[in-house]
Symmetry: C2
Subunit: 73 residues, 2 copies
């Protein structure tokens, strides 16, 4: 598709794959879009939190513990 730009960070194909894994027989395009958007919101929120926790601990590297702590918050 010429002139179209990717707007999501999470690949939609992966999201559709997950939906099929969970037992969906068919998935509407709107459904995939909505799911991708929601996952991205959750993901970015956790990511921001984890980055903040790492930098608060004086680290430049985000580690496993930062992620777990970010999820709890």
């Amino acid at each position: 598709m010429v002139g179209t730009k990717r707007k999501t960070i999470i690949p939609k194909a992966a999201v559709a794959r997950i939906l099929f894994t969970t037992g969906a027989k068919r998935v509407s395009a709107d459904g995939v879009d909505a799911f991708t958007e929601i996952l991205e919101t959750i993901t970015l929120e956790i990511g921001h939190q984890a980055a903040r926790i790492a930098s608060h601990s004086g680290r430049k590297t985000v580690q496993e513990g930062d992620i777990h702590l970010a999820v709890k918050k």
Copy 2:
């Protein structure tokens, strides 16, 4: 890598990309693994719920509304 099998549905590269987007300067391999695992748990849970809602409504197709409802639960 011969003999290794992909264990996650969500590609780890995408997860790492998201972490960098959120301001992480470096990310440990453990951090990416942990984040991927957590996202997958959340995602599969929402997916299962959405598939159940669609099938409960007598549809084979998972639609946008199913996803939104699944997220609320």
